[in-house]
Amino acid sequence: MSKKLIHAIFDDEEILLSSVKELRSKNIEIEEVYSPFPIHGLDKALGLKETRMAITAFIYGCIGLTFGGLLIYYIMISGVGKSWPMNIGGKPNFTFYQNMPAFVPIMFECTVLFAGHLMSLTYFFRNKLYPGATTMSPDPRTTDDKFLMEFVVDNNEAEIKKILKATGATEINEKEQGDE
């Protein structure tokens, strides 16, 4: 059996935010909020977990730094550097640490390259964003000036509607899950 959904439209992000707080305090589960721009404090009001994007960036950065270091170590010191030692501009390649200052720029760039791109790819992957994906938003106005709250009804339809009306929703629509 398909589930019943309620779509509530709001015109203003502050009204939406206070409505979210009201609903959450009554223990009503909000399925999703669609908005045209980020709303400050909405993630906390909805009880969303903190995102771990920054942590992934740190890990990817460490991988990039290691990759850059090993790449240079192989090319300049251990592998090729061993069979063809060079001393360019007073930067001898006998040991890694002696030559280190000259390697810093590329190791830094590798760190940024890996952290930036891999985090962005993780972001696309986690948000399911890719060319050709279709929008999940039930109402095209949510990228313009309307804010949409979605509920899955579980015998509490009347209560949800009452609170929504009281807290300033401008439209309340009922939908069956799956129909567009």
Partner: protein, 461 residues
Amino acid sequence: MHQESEIRDPLILGKKTYHDITKEIALPVEGKANKYWWILFGLSVVLFLWGIGCIAYTIGTGIGVWGLNKTVNWAWDITNFVWWIGIGHAGTLISAVLLLFRQKWRMAINRSAEAMTIFGVVQAGLFPLIHMGRPWLAYWVFPIPNTFGSLWQNFNSPLLWDVFAISTYLTVSTVFWYIGLIPDFAMIRDRMSKTISPMKKKLYTLLAFGWSGRAKHWQRFEEVSLVLAGLATPLVFSVHSIVSMDFATSVIPGWHTTIFPPYFVLGALFSGFAMVETLLIIVRKVVKMEAYITIKHIEYMNIIILFTGSMVGIAYLTELFMAWYSGVEFEQYAFLNRATGPYWWAYASMMSCNVIIPQLYWIKKIRTSFIATFILSIFVNIGMWFERFVIIVTSLHRDFLPSAWTMFSPSFVDIGIFLGTIGFFFVLFLMYARTFPVVAQAELKTILKSSGSEYKTRSHE
């Protein structure tokens, strides 16, 4: 909600709703181009084609078609390269550094400034590529396992650092730009009707990556933007520092100075902001963004130009002082020759355009005038081109052996390629202005209530 002091000038003018912002920013994409756009576009295409012709001639015949000689073996190519890279820096400063400093005025201009960055870096990248002589072997600059035995790059060389710095800069800036663009493409997608413009609808659906604006996505969006800004900030400083090391790690008098990295980075920001102003003063008129790109934005940028211009002036004087103080005859002569030698006019243009003229921004009337700003920004663009020319050509043309002393004059190919890149840049920028949302509307909507003029007066009452 975020509160803003009442004495701060509004950043969005007029009576606007969220829907007005949507409509006005989608307008250039949905509407038809006007006459001026076509004239500018046509002119740029002509320049671009001329540039392509000159590039083809260079590659087909050899670098001998340039004005270079044995003494002056680096001239317009590297001058243009540094000039274009420098221009790019302001875009990243606006979108990354100002984001970290929570400067709200960044929001109306960051999209176009970053477009300028990306298009500028593309032009910059062309010059080393052409200068290779055999551009089809350009991939040799990357450390790729190869069949030539143990042939690898020299990681001690600043030229290789440049390869890494510029590739990272170009690609990370592009990704940063695109992540911000996705919600705005989604806005345009949702406005396009399936029946009136099915092709356009399809195109923007593709570009929007299926963005729907869920709360979790916005949360990730904000964190990713912040982290990318945090990564781009040291990146942008590293890029121009590394570009300056192309010169500073050599032993040529006039190049071998430790002041180069900060001096180049400030110069880059200086020239970049001038180019942002040149572009935006035109863009705000052509695509009718007067309510979003206001005189306040221009004034903020003028203050940065005044600051960086003065810093660049201090760097010029420091260079002169250090040359004298070093007691090294050759170093001293290099600078004496710059200021009073046969290229004195280049030095004089650099000094007047970069140091003296921007001082006019101390006057509030000039700082808050579109016309004055436009004229001054052109001066800065020219001055900063001359700065690179002065550093490169006047340091080389009188080298260690007086018998080798000579002058440099550009051939028509040198000039053609430079004009070609200007054409290419404007072709890209003009196409961007017609197809992309030129203002980051999703971000802008977040400050409407705190910085919109209508809301500010209302809260005052």
